[in-house]
């Protein structure tokens, strides 16, 4: 479709869509006038019932634990999807990074980036573990902390190179972390059934409100999800970075042919 046709068609469609959106928004409560009741009920009962001080985490890993398992599987499906879309195709080969410009050396990463990047790795891991571990007390949890932990490995890539990152976090270990985390979270859900309750029943001792080891199965779920998210993100990042080393065999021939055309 040419640009001249596209914009008028889009304008018509947008007008219709905007009408529908405004119609829908007209039925929403006024901003700041949340009517409840579920949010208000949860804010009253979650702390005494589950010993968590972060009600959002209580919703995610306890009251709505089953939905979060689905969310976890969405992430898992995406990891599998990225791996299969970016798999090595026929005619592709992995080449060393300097193959395209033989005789020319790629400039090394600057010393500042290397020092700053490597210096940040340990603090990043610490913050990540802290965020995963305190999910039941303060904002955070497995998803947020897992992404921070994955960043630590990306910092190694930034300050060294892809091969070093692979050496620090071998793909086998990463896949194991992703699998163990996902399976662990599902098993925590099943343990509720074994303990005689419902799927994702929080059957462990709740402890004292505000303690690091409180809220029953919620910290365990956060740890499992944190492991799965770290593994999943590092795996997806590795797959993309691996692509920079993958070329179709005829790549250079094709480029030369295009230039001579």
């Amino acid at each position: 479709m040419s640009d001249r046709v596209r914009l008028p068609v889009f304008a018509v469609a947008l007008t219709g869509l905007l009408g529908l959106v405004l119609w829908g928004f007209a039925g929403l409560p006024d901003f700041g006038d949340y009517a409840g009741p579920y949010g208000y009920i949860l804010n009253r009962v979650a702390v005494p019932e589950r010993s968590t001080t972060d009600v959002v985490t209580a919703v995610n890993f306890d009251y709505r634990g089953f939905d979060t398992l689905g969310e976890e599987f969405i992430l898992f499906a995406a990891v599998v999807g990225v791996a299969s879309i970016l798999r090595k195709l026929r005619g592709e080969r992995t080449r060393p990074p300097d193959d395209d410009a033989a005789g020319r050396r790629a400039p090394l990463t600057s010393l500042t980036v290397r020092v700053a990047g490597l210096g940040l790795v340990a603090p990043t891991i610490l913050v990540g573990i802290y965020i995963v571990g305190h999910g039941q007390l303060t904002p955070g949890g497995g998803f947020q902390g897992g992404v921070i932990l994955a960043t630590a490995l990306l910092l190694i890539y930034l300050s060294a190179d892809y091969m070093t990152m692979r050496a620090v976090g071998p793909l086998g270990v990463i896949e194991l972390a992703e699998g163990l985390g996902g399976a662990g979270f599902a098993l925590i859900g099943l343990s509720g059934l074994v303990a005689g309750g419902a799927f994702f029943q929080n059957w462990l001792g709740k402890g004292t409100v505000g303690d690091l080891m409180s809220a029953g199965t919620i910290p365990l779920s956060n740890a499992a999800v944190g492991l799965a998210v770290t593994g999943g993100f590092v795996f997806m990042l590795s797959e993309f970075l691996q692509q920079t080393l993958t070329r179709r065999r005829d790549h250079r021939r094709r480029r030369r042919a295009r230039r001579s055309r």
């Binding site: 700041g32 579920y38 949010g39 972060d54 998803f143």
Partner: protein, 118 residues
């Protein structure tokens, strides 16, 4: 001004959609989809907002404090995760598209224009 957050959400969705429709680059298009999706975070959080209330974290405030709805905040977390996974999958498809067609311009992607080789 109680409608303002909803208006912002509608606007964010609109500009994201405009970006997708006029995009000449698949990476740009994927980012536009992320922008469009962030409108849903705004709608979710706005629905659960309570005037003069605090976040639903009771770590150092009494239990009787007025707090906003935690359910929509938990849903927003799910929303963010879904958004990330969609972005990752679309970027992977963009990589493969570039390998096959040698371009990221959606206008250039027509059947028969892929590189026949391999």
């Amino acid at each position: 001004m109680s409608f303002l957050p909803y208006a912002v959400a509608a606007w964010v969705m609109g500009v994201g959609l405009y970006g997708i429709v006029t995009s000449r680059d698949l990476l740009h298009m994927v980012i536009c989809l992320s922008v469009m999706q962030s409108a849903s975070y705004l709608v979710l959080l706005s629905i659960g907002y309570v005037k003069d209330a605090q976040a639903p974290i009771f770590a150092d405030v009494p239990l009787s404090t007025r707090a906003v709805d935690p359910v929509v905040q938990a849903l927003t977390l799910t929303d963010v995760v879904v958004g990330t996974t969609v972005t990752a999958l679309l970027l992977a498809l963009a990589v493969q598209t570039h390998k096959r067609y040698g371009t990221l311009d959606p206008q250039e992607l027509r059947p028969g224009r892929e590189h026949v080789d391999g």
